[in-house]
């Protein structure tokens, strides 16, 4: 196990650097002699912008959510405080709950299963390949990710068009109205197409960190492709998987582009939360109620994030006990097997 040995060797002299290092790597070492005051000055400009244009609007949303602020009419000039009324109203509001269910379906189908799955499959397939096929595939996947959303939305409208859309031409199903008959499926497939690139990139990087010797060891022991994945690869890239799921879940949760394709229709069948809020706040002019919905969305995001972060935290704790248990390659290997068991 060449890789393990060399890292153990590096760890030995590094451990000599004092107690800071004993707790793993030591990113806080003030190598350039920055000092606290200068560090604060470095952070301040970014922090000011973030506070002003991110945190303040968020807090403002919170405040608006507790009023009956409207786009038009008397409450537009003089909104009154309604406290938790908006929240209670939302929790009993069938259209809100409906769009929440749609959003969860959208996140689960297109991000957690679709993007993460396809992204991993692509990364795994590309792992040891080069040549034009790989280059072309990678370029196309990246292109789908990098194109502006207005363009992409139009491309998909054209692709799925009822009369003369490319998909219908190919499948010889003229007149099949995909966006009307299967609207949710359409935007889920669209979002898989749009976002798999990120998962692919992240997993490619993660797979690059799995030492070849580990895979070879498993292969020598007679593990099948699936067993290699389960016993060697997944335990090793667990952290990457969780980070990826966290990010793509949040992004998908808050994605507004489905609106550009289906406008939430037909009949609100693709009205995910961001679209629902947009329609409530600007369409119907109920700014206060819309803000309350935004606040609820923020809370749900928070719950999702906390779940992922806790899972991630568990993993880190495990890692720490592992390093504490012994620097030898033997010890590390032992607990790794334990983890995968």
């Amino acid at each position: 196990m060449a890789a393990t040995t060399s890292s153990a060797e590096q760890a030995a002299p590094a451990a000599d650097r004092g107690p800071g290092n004993a707790e793993g790597r030591e990113p806080e070492r003030d190598a350039a002699g920055l000092g606290r005051r200068r560090a604060a000055a470095f952070v301040a400009p970014a922090l000011v912008l973030v506070a002003l244009f991110l945190v303040l609007p968020a807090v403002w949303t919170l405040y608006l959510g507790a009023t009956d602020y409207r786009l038009t009419g008397i409450p537009a000039i003089d909104p009154s405080f309604v406290g938790f009324d908006n929240i209670t109203k939302a929790l009993g509001d069938e259209s809100f709950l409906h769009s929440l269910r749609l959003t969860l379906l959208f996140v689960l189908g297109s991000a957690v299963i679709g993007q993460a799955g396809l992204g991993f499959a692509l990364a795994w397939w590309m792992r040891e390949r080069s040549g034009w096929l790989r280059t072309t595939l990678e370029a196309l996947v990246m292109l789908a990710w990098i194109l502006p959303s207005s363009v992409v939305a139009f491309l998909w409208i054209a692709f799925l068009d009822r009369d003369g859309g490319t998909l219908n031409e190919l499948l010889r199903t003229p007149g099949a109205a995909w966006l009307l008959d299967h609207p949710m499926l359409s935007i889920i497939v669209y979002n898989i197409w749009r976002g798999s690139a990120f998962s692919m990139m992240l997993y490619s990087a993660a797979l690059g960190n799995v030492p070849a010797s580990h895979l070879e060891t498993a292969r020598l022991a007679g593990a099948s492709g699936f067993q290699q994945l389960r016993d060697v690869v997944f335990p090793r890239i667990r952290g990457h998987i969780l980070t990826n799921l966290l990010l793509i879940s949040l992004w998908t949760f808050n994605d507004f582009t489905p609106f550009l394709i289906t406008a939430g229709g037909p009949d609100g069948k693709t009205e995910t939360l961001p679209v629902h809020i947009y329609k409530t706040a600007l369409g119907s002019g109920e700014l206060g109620y819309g803000a309350a919905l935004s606040f609820l969305m923020l809370l749900i995001n928070l719950v999702v994030a906390v779940i992922y972060l806790r899972l991630l935290g568990q993993k880190n704790r495990k890692k720490k006990t592992r390093t504490a248990r012994g620097r030898s390659a033997e010890g590390a290997r032992g607990s790794e097997l334990e983890e995968s068991a």
């Binding site: 002299p13 451990a15 000599d16 800071g20």
Partner: protein, 370 residues
């Protein structure tokens, strides 16, 4: 040129861990000085505190006549070579070497000329347009040295300068570094965990453990007369035999089933009946196939070939084990019986881990350089 004087130098990390315990040490002008010790002994912290990369918690650091304790690293007139060489990957070799001069606002033309000359001196002339990534390990090390030399500092600090080289390169670099240091005559402190490296290169060395200096002396002194069992077991490619024993009434020590004479210098201090540790290096035991006086005997269990000699492990009846370096004339076979007699003037006696010597702490003045 300058000496380095540490006076009650202490380093306490936030959280209360004491990395350095009130150290006093003088590195003489022009000396090649090694800080040696196991991982976590504080040797790197000491070097980094001298460099100014860590702030001292107490005491002072003087370089020459200047108290530099409160100075920024850049104002201390030192140069440091890091374990990973820290060559900037985006600069060519020449730009790397010229970088300290750039900081000191030396003009472009002069800088380039000086960098090229230094590169030339270290045999890097033909590589000056390369990037560090295109150099071999040995070349990278030389480039790092050249960069340190370019600004003519008063002091060189090397952090594990050889540990990133492979075994063969390391030997070459050792000789090269020692020669270079002698030629330049710049006071140099280097950190290493490899005792062979420290013995081979240093004029003097300090053995550290737990943030304290356990022994300071020339390689010969430290090798021949380790001040404690810790130093004794740390120094030497084949570790010293440290055999527990008891002093008898008639000037001998009962050790490993045999009776060995008490070393002269320990004689006035060793009292009969005392528990001691008898220390003798495998190199200073002489081998015999037949019974001999003042020797330990046992069964040969392992024979390791060292090339021109063999390292024989002898197992006396009491369950201890003794290692002996046996010259190539003898060829003891495993399972046979053997005798090993210590060279009287090389045997040492330790009580409570410390060397028993009549001239206490005189070790530094004793043995002449070999």
């Amino acid at each position: 040129m300058a000496d380095i004087t540490l006076d009650r130098l202490a380093k306490v990390y936030p959280g209360g861990v004491r990395a350095l315990h009130d150290l006093d040490l003088t590195v003489r002008d022009g000396e090649f000085f090694a800080l040696l010790g196991p991982s976590g002994c504080g040797k790197s912290t000491l070097l980094r505190t001298v460099a100014g990369l860590e702030a001292a918690s107490g005491g002072t650091v003087r370089i020459g006549a200047r108290d530099v304790t409160e100075l920024q690293p850049g104002d201390r007139d030192i140069a440091m070579v890091f374990q990973d060489y820290a060559l900037f990957p985006h600069m060519t070799v020449e730009e790397n070497i010229g970088y300290p001069l750039k900081i000191k606002k030396v003009g472009r033309a002069e800088r380039a000329a000086k960098a090229r000359r230094t590169a030339e001196e270290l045999g890097l002339g033909h590589l000056s347009e390369r990037r560090p990534g295109q150099l071999s390990g040995g070349q990278q090390q030389r480039a790092a040295l050249a960069r340190a030399m370019a600004c003519h500092p008063q002091v060189f600090l090397f952090d594990e300068p050889l540990s990133n080289l492979d075994a063969r390169m390391r030997l070459e670099a050792r000789t090269f570094l020692k020669k270079l240091q002698r030629e330049l005559g710049v006071t140099t402190v280097f950190v290493t965990h490899d005792q062979a490296e420290a013995l081979a290169m240093a004029d003097r060395l300090a053995v550290m453990e737990g943030g304290e200096l356990r022994q300071v002396g020339t390689p010969t002194e430290v090798f021949r007369r380790p001040a404690s069992t810790f130093v004794a077991s740390f120094i030497g490619s084949t570790p010293m035999n440290l055999l527990p024993g008891r002093v008898t009434g008639d000037g001998t020590v009962r050790v490993a089933g045999g009776e060995l004479p008490v070393p002269d210098e320990a004689a006035p201090l060793a009292e009969a009946g005392e528990e001691v540790v008898y220390g003798i290096r495998p190199e200073y035991l002489s081998w015999s196939d037949s019974a001999a006086d003042g020797a330990v005997s046992g069964t040969v269990s392992v024979v390791e070939n060292l090339g021109s000699a063999q390292l024989v492990t002898l197992e006396p009846e009491d369950g201890s084990s003794v290692q002996v370096v046996v010259p190539e004339e003898h060829e003891p076979a495993p399972g046979t019986r053997g005798w090993a007699a210590p060279r009287a003037d090389r045997a040492l006696l330790y009580r409570d881990g410390d060397l028993l010597a009549a001239r206490a702490e005189a070790g530094t003045a004793a043995a002449p350089l070999s």
